[in-house]
């Protein structure tokens, strides 16, 4: 079609198409979150080997702790706490492997180029990744708790289920908000960040108080509970699901919930800023967001 054949009102029409109302923007953001969550929720279940390793390896780790505790004659409540911690660990693993390292994978596969050039914000993409990861991990965590309970006879006494659900929700939200910040850091830092992520795996489990209460870490426990969402989440959930271990909690549950809420807000703001930064820097340096040719 030659330029001569193009109608005079073409530019006005095109400009009008770029005008999106607030409701259009909100619907688009929601659809984008669902769109990005979809591969994580449904796609991953299509790879049986991933499902197998995601469930079996954490369960093996859990079993080793349980057998150790039983051999030392520990209270059965600690067996239940270990199973709960293993379930929580799946969410943290998701943050490290499926959030923090994801943007680099998206860049190297060429997806990041398509995200940047599409009218979708990186925030919607990150939120979709988080929601999809959390839903997928909730399924795995559920199986771990169910399997652990059946295998080892773990029992929980949940007096405040809503509070427990809120703790879990806030914990997952804060962890994923941190995960988005880490995704930006990992993208900027390159492979070194991956190695650091690997190296920090065990220290994070220790500081997160997964298999031993953060109370036993003294000042480091307080520090951890102030910066690592895993720590207040694990500590509060243990208190809520196992009242007989409530005395091992570092802080009262409402305080830990408040800390999680603050963490969620702070990490969300940092995520927003870091996503804006990587897009700005990527467009300026020409390398951060596009696959090397």
């Amino acid at each position: 079609m030659s330029a001569a054949g193009v109608s005079k009102d073409l530019h006005a029409r095109i400009y009008a198409e770029t005008e999106w109302s607030l409701s259009h923007k909100l619907r688009h953001a929601a659809q984008s979150v669902v769109g990005r969550a979809y591969p994580r929720i449904f796609g991953m279940s299509r790879e049986p080997s991933w499902l197998f390793f995601d469930l079996v390896f954490p369960t093996l780790g859990m079993c080793s702790f349980v057998f150790l505790l039983r051999s030392r004659g520990a209270d059965e409540a600690w067996i239940s706490a270990t199973i709960l911690a293993s379930a929580l660990l799946t969410f943290w693993t998701s943050v490290i492997w499926m959030m923090a390292g994801q943007f680099r994978w998206e860049r190297d596969s060429g997806n990041m180029t398509l995200y940047i050039t599409a009218p979708v914000g990186l925030g919607s993409i990150a939120l979709g990744m988080a929601v999809g990861g959390a839903v997928g991990m909730a399924f795995r965590a559920g199986i771990i708790i169910l399997g652990g309970s059946l295998l080892f006879g773990a029992q929980y006494e949940i007096r405040e289920p809503l509070l427990l659900a809120l703790t879990m929700l806030l914990g997952i939200a804060a962890m994923n908000a941190l995960g988005v910040c880490l995704a930006a850091v990992f993208l900027v830092s390159g492979r070194e960040a991956d190695h650091l992520g690997d190296l920090l795996n065990e220290p994070m489990q220790l500081l997160g108080g997964l298999f031993a209460p953060v109370r036993s870490l003294g000042i480091f426990g307080l520090l951890a509970i102030g910066i690592l969402p895993l720590a207040p989440a694990a500590d509060a959930m243990r208190q809520l699901a196992l009242p007989q271990l409530a005395a091992t909690g570092l802080l009262p549950v409402p305080v830990e919930l408040g800390i999680l809420a603050v963490m969620f807000v702070v990490f969300s703001l940092l995520s927003h800023a870091s996503l804006a930064y990587i897009e700005r820097r990527g467009r300026a340096d020409g390398k951060l967001l596009t696959r090397a040719d």
Partner: protein, 347 residues
């Protein structure tokens, strides 16, 4: 900040003095030098040049992936730096060798995912997904996982994705690289059909396939070392290396009543030479053919030549217009062939 509606006379693409410098370990590298370019709505414009010429850098700037170091660029009057969000609502991009997406999704699911990202209502998105699957003839792979698709199938899927938001501006960065002849032909046909469906849809294509540029593009810019060396229609570019029009006219035998000298004196004729003096029959008809290479000032002068030959009793066997190829244009402008340029890049 209020953004005014772009002027009705705005081009589809307006590039003014755009430069781009990359910082590298050994110092800075200038990928683009003060590029000026204007592409009209509805055009299929080609950027032709070797690897490293700056084609992809320009596309990245126009598609909002990269900021220019200097100058300005706009898409349908929308500034690619200041109006980024709006630009992204009316454009799309396909890159060659692109293996984006998620291998565990099916082809249809992947398109549906991108439809969500492009902002159309869900039902409309799914309607377009199915329409593109149909249009690209990939219904047989719609429920197959992306990881199981061939390169050609994946690239067709990429094209289908890029058409989902019905972009006014489509960037194609070496889109047929790695495709077999049949798949490349299919996607070229779809691009043409896509443009024909809606007047004003504009395509910017980068390629180093001369035949592809010649066949597809309304206008072409030849780019090398970050500079536009020449631009125009394929015919205009070819005229740069061959000023006159050259026709090959085949006759059974040159009649005695007409000599080469007579033909040379006809209006508009520059020169006439016998090209095929041995009379070998290039058409396989069985009779010898004498081929005359006739250089004319303009196409219209051919009528006089044909009339003169016919009046002298010559039996006309063939007429063909001889044009230089874009490769010859490229060699003349750049000083080397495009494949040589790519080899240099590889070194």
């Amino acid at each position: 900040m209020a953004i005014s509606t772009p002027a009705a006379s705005a081009a589809a693409v307006e590039v003014s003095g755009v430069g781009r410098v990359f910082q590298a370990k050994g110092g800075s590298v200038t990928a683009l030098h003060n590029i000026d370019l204007r592409i009209e709505p509805g055009e299929l414009f080609g950027l032709l040049g070797p690897n490293g010429a700056g084609k992809s850098t320009l596309i990245k700037i126009l598609s909002t992936l990269l900021l220019p170091s200097s100058g300005s660029a706009s898409i349908f009057g929308l500034d690619v730096v200041g109006d980024t969000a709006r630009v992204r609502r009316i454009m799309n991009l396909v890159a060659g060798g692109d293996f984006s997406g998620y291998g565990l999704l099916t082809a249809r699911e992947q398109l549906a995912m991108f439809a969500q990202f492009y902002g159309m209502p869900y039902a409309e998105g799914m309607r377009r997904v199915d329409a593109q699957i149909e249009a690209f003839g990939i219904t047989d792979i719609r429920d197959r996982k992306i990881s199981a698709l061939s390169t050609g199938q994946r690239q067709k899927l990429n094209f289908a994705r890029s058409f989902l938001n019905e972009p006014w501006m489509l960037f194609l960065d070496e889109p047929t690289i790695g495709l077999d002849v049949s798949a490349a032909r299919d996607v070229r046909e779809r691009v043409r059909a896509f443009q024909a469906e809606q007047p004003g849809r504009t395509v910017l294509l980068t390629t180093h396939y001369m035949a592809e540029a010649d066949e597809m593009c309304d206008r072409i810019a030849i780019v090398d070392h970050g500079r536009i060396l020449a631009q125009g229609t394929p015919t205009e570019l070819k005229r740069m290396v061959q000023k006159e029009t050259l026709f090959i006219v085949g006759v059974d035998e040159l009649p005695a009543a007409v000599s080469l000298g007579t033909l040379r004196e006809l209006p508009g004729v520059i020169s006439v030479v016998v090209r095929d003096a041995d009379g070998a029959d290039g058409n396989g008809v069985g009779s010898p053919v004498t081929r005359l290479a006739i250089a004319l000032r303009e196409d219209a002068a051919l009528g006089g030549v044909i009339s003169a030959l016919a009046a002298a009793g010559a039996h006309l066997r063939e007429i063909s217009k001889s044009e230089p190829t874009l490769e010859e244009v490229f060699v003349q402008l750049v000083g080397r062939g495009i494949s040589e340029s790519d080899s240099e890049q590889a070194l």
